[in-house]
């Protein structure tokens, strides 16, 4: 059964940073349609700050997640700081100090992230937020585990579910955040947070799979 060596965190985290940087403009455009257009800027600022802070250093995956979360929480205001900050820090707490992360542990980490998020936001699946990406991603991991799929395959399942979840926000009406005020007018467009969450999970999964090769 494949595992992620916690000590190989650097590449995973850098691929997450790069994915956000590459999609700065796209995320801004998505947010611009029914939000205030700053989502790309906000995410890019936080992830880039973390990338700079990391510099040439090595890091474990869990420590890196914790530091990334702290940067977001302490340096990025708005909703994104506390939201992604909480998710990453709670994930990190679960996997703290371990040497290897297997599928079960990763599921625990993701579950803790989602629970932490539920603690600070009222949004649930169907409300057109990043929860619509995160929740099905976790469900897919659990299903893969039940089905006895290998870790890399489970990650593929997670990404597919995240993508579907993200795409599902297009037909939803926003209930929280800035776009909520648009009511029915918010339908027909992706949710920015759901989109960034997919991009991050995809990059994270890809990074993890690479370390397992």
């Amino acid at each position: 059964m494949a595992v992620v060596k916690n000590e190989n965190g650097r590449d995973i985290l850098l691929s997450m940073v790069k994915a956000v940087q590459d999609n700065k403009q796209y995320l801004g455009d998505v947010d611009g349609l029914i939000g205030d257009g700053d989502h790309g800027m906000n995410m890019n600022k936080g992830f880039t700050l973390y990338g700079k802070q990391l510099g040439d250093e090595k890091t474990t995956f869990t420590n890196g997640l914790f530091e990334l979360g702290k940067v977001l929480l302490n340096k990025i205001g708005g909703s994104m700081g506390p939201i992604y900050g909480t998710v990453f820090m709670e994930m990190a707490d679960q996997g703290d100090e371990v040497e290897e992360i297997d599928l079960q542990l990763f599921i625990n980490m993701m579950e803790a992230g989602l629970e932490g998020l539920y603690d600070i936001v009222d949004a649930r699946p169907g409300d057109k937020t990043l929860v619509d990406t995160l929740f099905p991603a976790l469900e897919a991991l659990k299903a893969a585990h039940t089905q006895g799929r290998d870790f890399p395959d489970a990650l593929d399942d997670m990404v597919a579910a995240a993508r579907q979840g993200k795409d599902s926000t297009k037909d939803l009406v926003a209930k929280y955040g800035r776009s909520a005020r648009l009511g029915e007018r918010s339908r027909g467009v992706l949710d920015a947070g759901a989109t960034s969450c997919f991009i991050i999970l995809e990059a994270m999964a890809g990074g993890m799979q690479k370390t397992m090769e």
Binding site: G32, D36, G37, D38, M41, N42, L73, N74, K75, I76, G77, G78, S79, G81, P82, I83, G85, T86, I120, V121, Y176, G177, R178, R181, L182, R185
Partner: protein, 337 residues
């Protein structure tokens, strides 16, 4: 975009530097961690031992809010966010620390999801440090949700009256629970509505990110351009005043014989003389309904960068709120007498 900037990404930090330099007699910039080099704005004599610390915070771009309401008998500290974006949890935490005189912290802020989350996280961290933080969340903007969902309404210019009353109560030696109760009463007695005439442009974006067509106006617009309840053809000042009064007055409802504080704030780029024209009409309408104006304020009190338009805020006052609203205050944005 015809604006005065260097790097738009640094505008908040540069503004703070200028603000702190200019107003050293009223405020100071308190920097206590490497992670928040911007620090917070605190009253020049904060923290005051034994006094409840009054804290606020919010995104930038609403000058004089929020830092302009830090000062004598108003707020003790304010956390500063990027333009139209909540301050970090750390910034709120540092504002709590800067305001803590040992009698607890009253965090009086506006109902925006980012602010809610960051205050929540900051309060958790503060608790670990032994600080006692209680909150009042302003939700005076009638247009942002129906009355039966008041908890969803945004906070707008009514926050100023909440800070005024809460700040005065704390200055008079009120306990944390008393300050919280008073600030809650102040905002519960308060209703606001805004009319937007032009969009605003975020310096880092460079073009308006929403539209108000010339010849139209957006009734119920939010401070960040959140869509209002209705887009309609541009009206006269008298008609605008009627619309605003008809939204605000029945919601509370304010009634004949009530004494109220009236605050008309510009959204930034509307000439102040027009705010007086609008106030003049509002005053006539309130008088006609038998509502008595105890005090009134007209000016750019809570703005949205270069947006044109105005907000109307009404607060019903009882003897306690009258005493508090009458108290002298010295902040950059609100000075009395």
């Amino acid at each position: 975009m015809q604006r005065i900037l260097n790097n738009p990404d640094n505008i908040v930090d540069e503004m703070l530097e200028g603000f702190a330099k200019c107003h050293g007699d009223i405020v100071k910039q308190v920097i206590t961690s490497e992670e928040n080099t911007r620090g917070v704005i605190a009253a020049v004599d904060a923290p005051k031992a034994g006094k409840v610390g009054v804290v606020t915070g919010g995104g930038s771009g609403h000058k004089p809010a929020f830092i302009g309401y830090v000062g004598k008998n108003m707020c003790d500290a304010a956390a500063v966010g990027e333009i139209c974006s909540s301050p970090t949890a750390l910034a709120f935490l540092e504002a709590f620390r800067a305001a803590d005189g040992g009698a607890g912290i009253a965090c009086l802020y506006g109902n925006y999801s980012g602010d809610n989350m960051n205050v929540k996280m900051a309060s958790k961290m503060a608790k670990r440090e032994g600080l006692v933080v209680k909150t009042v969340i302003a939700n005076d903007d009638v247009a942002s949700a129906p009355k039966d969902q008041r908890e969803k309404r945004r906070g707008v210019a009514g926050e100023i009256l909440m800070w005024k009353c809460g700040g005065a109560k704390a200055a008079l030696g009120g306990s944390l629970d008393e300050v919280i109760a008073t600030a809650q009463k102040a905002i519960d007695n308060t209703r606001s509505v805004g009319i937007g005439l032009t969009p605003c442009t975020l310096p880092a974006v460079g073009h308006p990110n929403f539209e108000i067509k010339p010849g139209t106006m957006e009734v119920g617009i939010g401070h960040h351009g959140e869509p209002g309840i209705e887009v309609c053809p541009l009206e006269t000042a008298a008609q605008m005043a009627k619309r605003m009064v008809d939204i605000v007055v029945p919601d509370y409802p304010y009634q004949a014989g009530d004494e109220v504080v009236v605050l008309v704030s510009g959204l930034g780029a509307t000439p102040v003389m027009e705010l007086y024209v609008l106030y003049n009409e509002i005053d006539k309408l309130l008088k006609a309904q038998g509502i008595q104006t105890y005090r009134s304020y007209v000016g750019n009190y809570f703005t949205s960068l270069d947006m044109m338009g105005a907000t109307l805020t009404i607060m019903k006052v009882d003897d306690e709120l009258k005493e508090l609203i009458d108290m002298d205050a010295t902040s950059v944005g609100f000075r009395q007498p």
